[in-house]
């Protein structure tokens, strides 16, 4: 069940015609084929392994699996990840459900 706070934000976004990523603090994920992934509005790296990387976002984390994964750039706003991306999994926190 979506909690009241989230519902209110969704409604406000619809009324004011503001993007959900801004009003609900959601990540904006841009994929360029399976070569590059750009994640804006992230909350840091949860886990970094040679073939797997987990990136925390506001409502959970994004799990990326692949080969030769290179964090081309990382700063407070965005993460640019390059490599041979084989799998992208968005795991939403149970509280958000």
């Amino acid at each position: 069940m979506v909690n009241r706070k989230t519902k209110l934000k969704e409604t406000l976004g619809e009324v004011l015609d503001i993007g959900e990523d801004i009003i609900m603090d959601l990540p904006r994920i841009t994929l360029c084929g399976n070569r590059t992934i750009n994640i804006e509005n992230h909350k840091g790296i949860m886990d970094y392994a040679p073939l797997n990387i987990k990136i925390r976002v506001s409502n959970g984390f994004i799990e990326i699996a692949g080969e030769n994964l290179v964090l081309k750039d990382i700063n407070r706003e965005e993460i640019i990840l390059e490599g041979n991306i084989l799998k992208l999994n968005f795991v939403v926190d149970e509280e958000e459900e």
């Binding site: 970094y48 392994a49 040679p50 994964l69 290179v70 964090l71 081309k72 990382i74 700063n75 407070r76």
Partner: protein, 393 residues
Amino acid sequence: MLARLLGLILGYCVIHIRGRGGERFINFAMENGINIWDISWLDNNIIEAKIEYGHVHLLPAIRSATKVPYKIKLKRGLPVFSMYLIKRRLALLIGGITAFIIIFWLSGYAYFIEIIPDEPLNLVTEEAILAELESAGISLFTSFSTMDFANAEYSLLVNQPLISFVNIKREGTKIIVSVVEKTNMLENITGDDLGSVWAGKDGVIEKVLILYGEAAVESGDTVAKGDLLVTPLDDGKSSAIVQAKVWYQGYGECVVSGESSEVAGEVIRTLTLALENKETGFLFSKKIDETDFEYIKIDEDITPIYLWQGIRLPINIIEEYYLPYATTNVDNGQAEAIEIATEKAVNDILSKLPDEYMILEESIEIISQTDDLVRVKVEYICLEDIAVKNNIE
């Protein structure tokens, strides 16, 4: 591409993050604004990353905060290259600085002395001038800091009285001595030099240069105006330059606040035709208009009128000379009043000085200073030629 170029300009380090917890290290760096990029796994235990060169000093703080060890493997970019060049050329740099210091130090010494006379030297030799300069502390390979040009100029003028002007200045490592000789006095001894040489002023003799005749005084003697300085030879001629210290005093005063009377124009002459011994018996009188200025009589000339054969008429022509004075209310401050009074005193002295002189000492004394008036006395001790021929007035 741009990011790479920027990385090269700012410089970067390649670091190896070891062990588990690499994400903690990366998160901490990111949160603290450290530029970190190109993060990848080298093998199962090492993460390689690039960090901006200017942020390397923050790495120990990250290690202590995250407990994740790291190692700097490589340094690249412009700052690193510059440091490399500086280190490699350190000897050259030190040599350059040392050379600069040595050149700067050596430039403080005199290596050339050039004497530039106004006209070819006739009475004084260059050797004599150089010897005099040396005795005054100005010689080759001597530090400029130990030289006193003003003292050397004075010494030259006193000990070489045939020099009328000398100026010593520095141009780089060269000393330029500009010299002007007095006119050739030996050739100029003529019939006008008949008789003795006398003192034209009171003073203390500094140097006597006999051109012709026999000296009657020597250095250190105190002479008064009219004293004999040089006696003539058998042909009755004498000529000499007698340098002496002469004291001059000037006086000046200035009203601080109140009425001040200043000369406001040129001397005015009035003519009066008056009966003899009758002050009121004016026949004709052209008087001055005293509405604008106050006139003070400075001179009077009474001329009697004669007829033929010495018969005197009882009438006089009276010429009177007046100076106009304007009275103004002034309100000078004490400092300004002292300045004005000093200027007046200096002008008073300057009006008494001869054409050629050298001021050796000057002193200013405030004689009195009240709320109304300031009185100042200025004293100059000058070096000048006091020799005069017979015609002392």
